[in-house]
Symmetry: C2
Subunit: 396 residues, 2 copies
DNA sequence: TCTACTTTTTCCACTCACAGGACAAAGGCG
DNA sequence: CGCCTTTGTCCTGTGAGTGGAAAAAGTAGA
C-alpha cells in the first residue's frame, strides 16, 4: 500500500508541524503564541495543512475563558517506523507523528549475516507490528546501523563490524520495500537524537552521547544538530588509543579503547576471570549459561562480586580517560552514557565521572552533568523516528 | 576621533558586503551573478549601501563586451585593527575592509603583566600604526587572547596563563579606548579564522587548527563557523593526557600534552640536553644567547643536530597521538598546524602525520591533509580582523 | 438573566519586498 | 555604420504578510 504523505510547502508549515510534533495538540491561538506570524497568516497556513491531511481538527481545546477553539493535531493515522540495527540484535518500533512509541519489538540477530538477511528480519518485524493493528502502512522510516554512513545517500561506508554492508544502498532498498521515504544514520547519532528529543538532553544545545555496546561510539550534537564529520565517521572513538602498547585490536593497532572496554571485551575478560577461578559468581554463571556476556557481569556486580566490580571500574576508568580528553576538546554541556552496558549502572558512571572530573579543566567540568541515558533501548528507535520526521517535516 | 560606521540594514546588504570583502571590487552585474536577487532589487540595495558610505563607486569595471559598468568596492578608507595577544608577545596589524594587511608590528611582552599594561602597549602600537599614515581611525577591532573567553561579552574566564585577566572586561575597555566596536576571542580560534579566510582552509567546512606555541590549543570549525563550546573553552587540548603518569603539569595533573611538548617544554628540554652535554650545537647556542627557546631548537635541527631532531620527533609523536584521537572523534576535512613552533617545520609535521595516519581509521584519514599554516604570525591578526568584520557586516 | 469583558476566529484593506519586462545607454565586431 | 551584447534604470504586477475591525462564542459578576 502506497501512502501519499504530503510535505510542508514552506518553512512556516514546517515550523508548525514540528511544534505540533513536539508540543502535541494545540489550538490555533496557542500556536500563534509560539510562532512569529500574524493570526491571519497563521490561519492560512493551518488551513493549507488541513487540506493536505497532514494535520486534522480534533475536538475543542481547553478553554482559556473566551470563544471556544478547536484543537489542531497531527494526523493521528500517520505512522513512522524506527529501526535500530545493532551488532547482535534488531529493534523495530512504530510511532505516531508525535513520536510516541506505539509498539516496540526486539529480535536477536547478527549484523554480519548481511543486509539481505537483516532486511528480511526487519520487514518481518514491521509486518508483525502492522498485523497487530498498530499501523496500516508507514509514512516514513528511520534506520540506524552500527557503522559510518554516507548520510545524504544513506549508504554505509567501510563499516568495520558489518562485512557485506559496505556500499549497500540501504536507503534506496528499504524505501523500495517499505514504499515510503527512508533516512539512514549511524546508530549512535540516532541514540543522541533520541535522548535529545525525549530524554535527558532535551534542553542542551551541545552534548556528547557515548554508547557503549558491542563497540563504543559517540554521538556529537552541535547547536542542536548532529555533527557527522567530513566522511560520516565522526564520533568513532572506539579506536582512540586508551592504553599505550595495550591489547591488540581488530583494527590492527594496539590499545584501542574498544579492545579494553566494550560489551565484547567485557565478556571476554569475565570469561577469563571465571576460568582462572578468580570469581565464584562469574564461574557459576558461566556454567549455567554456557558463556558470559556483559549482562552477566552486571548481575555479578549487582550481587557484590569483587571481580566483576573491578572489571567495570577498570573499564570505566579507561573510558573516562578518553571522555576526559573529549570533554577538554569539545567542552560539551552534557555527557550522556548509554548503550547495552547501561546495566552496569552507577559503578560505571562513578568511574567515568572520577576520571573526567579529575583530568579535565574546571572550566569545562564545572557545570558538566555526566548522566546515564533515560530511554535505554528505546533511544535508538525514537531517534530514528525523529530523523525521518525531521526530514518529512522540512520543505520539500 | 569617533567614526560613525554604518551597519547593513538587512541580510541582502550583509551578503553584498561580505561578497565585496572576500571578492574585492565588482561591478553590479558581477555581484548579480553571485547573489540570488533581481537586478532591480540589487540596484536598490547597492544604492542604499552607497548612501551609507560603506561602499563607494570606483572607476570602470573590466569590459565584458557591452555597456561599460562601474566598479563597486568597500570604502577604501575603512580600517580594522587586528590584535593578537600571545603569551610572550603582542601582534597588531591594520587592514582595510578587504582584510588586506596594510601594516603589522610585533612587540615582545609578557601577558602576565596584566591587562592594563598590555592594553597600554596595544594602544601605543595602534597609535604608531596610525602615525605612519596607515589609518586615521579604526572602524572596528578584533582581539585574540591566549585563554578561554566568554564570547558574547568578550571577557576572559579562568585563563590559566593570564593571571589578572579573569573577568576583565576586555571588549568593553578596549571599545572605550579605541572608540570603535570590538570583538574578543581565543587566539587559537582567530588563527583558525585567519587560515580560513586567507590561508590553507579556504574551501573546507570542517577543520581543526592546532596551534603549538607557548601552550597548545586547537581551533574547531564546524560548517564554516568557529565552535566555542558551552563555556568557551572548546579546543583546550593542552591538558589532555598524552603520557600516563607523565610529567607534572602546572594544572595539577600529570602527563598533559603541554607538559611534554610546547614552546615552553621544548625550551626546557633543550636546556637540559645542553647542560648534560648531549648536544654541542645546543650547548653553543645556550652559551651565545644565555638561554634556549624553541627557535634555537629549530635552528639546531636545521643544522642537523640529532638531539634537537629527537626532541622535535618525540614531541611530534606525542602531539600526533593526541591529534589522532581528535581526528577519530571529529573527522575533520583538514588539520592545520601552526603557532610559534611552525619553524620546526617538516620534521614536526612528519612525526605528527605518522602518528595520525597510523592510529586513526582509514575512513577518517583517507583524504585528510595535515598541513602547516600558510600565514604564520599573520594568521592571528587576520583572523581578528575577520572576526570584527563578520560582526560589523551583519545586520544590526 | 442580563451585561460587560475575553478570547478566538474570520474578513478585508493596505503595505512592502521583489521579480521581471521594457527600454535606454554604451560598448564590441564585422 | 548597422547589429548584437552587456549593463543600468524605470515601472508595474504579484504575492506574502500585517494589523485592524467585526463577528462568534465563551466566562464572570450584578
Amino acid at each position: 500500500m502506497r501512502r501519499m504523505t504530503a510535505r510542508p510547502a514552506n518553512a512556516h508549515q514546517a515550523r508548525l508541524l514540528k511544534l505540533l510534533r513536539d508540543g502535541g495538540p494545540n489550538s490555533r491561538a496557542q500556536l500563534g503564541d509560539q510562532i512569529d506570524l500574524s493570526r491571519s497568516k497563521l490561519a492560512v497556513e493551518v488551513d493549507r495543512l488541513l487540506e493536505t491531511g497532514l494535520v486534522v481538527a480534533d475536538g475543542l481545546a481547553a478553554s482559556r475563558g473566551g470563544r471556544r477553539s478547536h484543537n489542531i493535531r497531527l494526523n493521528p493515522g500517520l505512522r513512522f517506523l524506527g529501526v535500530d540495527i545493532g551488532a547482535t540484535s534488531v529493534d523495530v518500533a512504530v510511532t505516531n507523528a508525535e513520536l510516541e512509541t506505539l509498539g516496540h519489538i526486539n529480535h536477536p540477530m547478527d549484523v554480519r549475516e548481511g543486509p539481505v538477511a537483516v532486511f528480511e528480519q526487519v520487514l518481518a518485524m514491521a509486518a508483525k507490528l502492522k498485523a497487530s493493528g498498530l499501523a496500516e502502512g508507514f509514512d516514513g522510516a528511520g534506520i540506524g546501523v552500527p557503522g559510518p554512513v554516507r548520510f545524504p545517500e544513506g549508504i554505509p561506508v567501510a563499516p568495520p563490524i558489518m562485512p557485506g554492508w559496505d556500499g549497500f544502498p540501504v536507503r534506496e532498498a528499504l524505501s523500495q520495500e517499505l514504499g515510503c521515504p527512508v533516512m539512514v544514520d549511524n546508530d549512535v547519532n540516532l541514540m543522541a537524537m533520541g535522548e535529545q528529543h525525549a530524554g535527558v538532553a532535551r534542553t542542551v544545545a551541545d552534548f556528547l552521547c557515548v554508547k557503549i555496546g558491542t563497540g563504543i561510539g559517540c554521538g556529537i550534537v552541535v547547536g542542536g544538530e548532529v555533527y557527522r564529520g567530513t566522511t560520516g565517521s565522526a564520533g568513532d572513538i572506539g579506536h582512540i588509543q586508551a592504553v599505550p602498547d595495550g591489547r591488540p585490536c581488530a583494527c590492527g593497532n594496539r590499545g584501542c579503547l574498544e579492545a579494553h572496554f566494550s560489551g565484547a571485551a567485557l565478556a571476554r575478560d569475565a570469561t577469563e576471570a571465571a576460568q582462572q577461578g578468580l570469581s565464584d559468581e562469574l564461574a557459576s554463571r558461566w556454567e549455567t549459561n554456557g558463556g558470559l556476556t556483559a549482562v552477566d557481569v552486571a548481575a555479578a556486580a549487582a550481587a557484590g562480586d569483587a571481580t566483576a566490580l573491578d572489571l567495570i571500574r577498570e573499564g570505566g576508568n579507561r573510558t573516562g580517560q578518553v571522555i576526559a580528553g573529549l570533554v577538554s576538546f569539545f567542552n560539551p554541556g552534557l555527557v550522556v552514557i548509554g548503550g547495552g552496558v547501561t546495566g552496569l549502572g552507577h559503578t560505571l558512571l562513578a568511574a567515568i565521572r572520577t576520571q573526567v572530573y579529575r583530568q579535565s579543566l574546571p572550566l569545562a567540568t564545572g557545570n558538566l552533568p555526566i548522566v546515564l541515558g533515560e530511554l535505554g533501548p528505546a533511544a535508538g528507535v525514537i531517534g530514528a523516528a525523529r530523523l525521518i520526521s525531521d526530514h518529512l517535516f522540512s520543505p520539500a
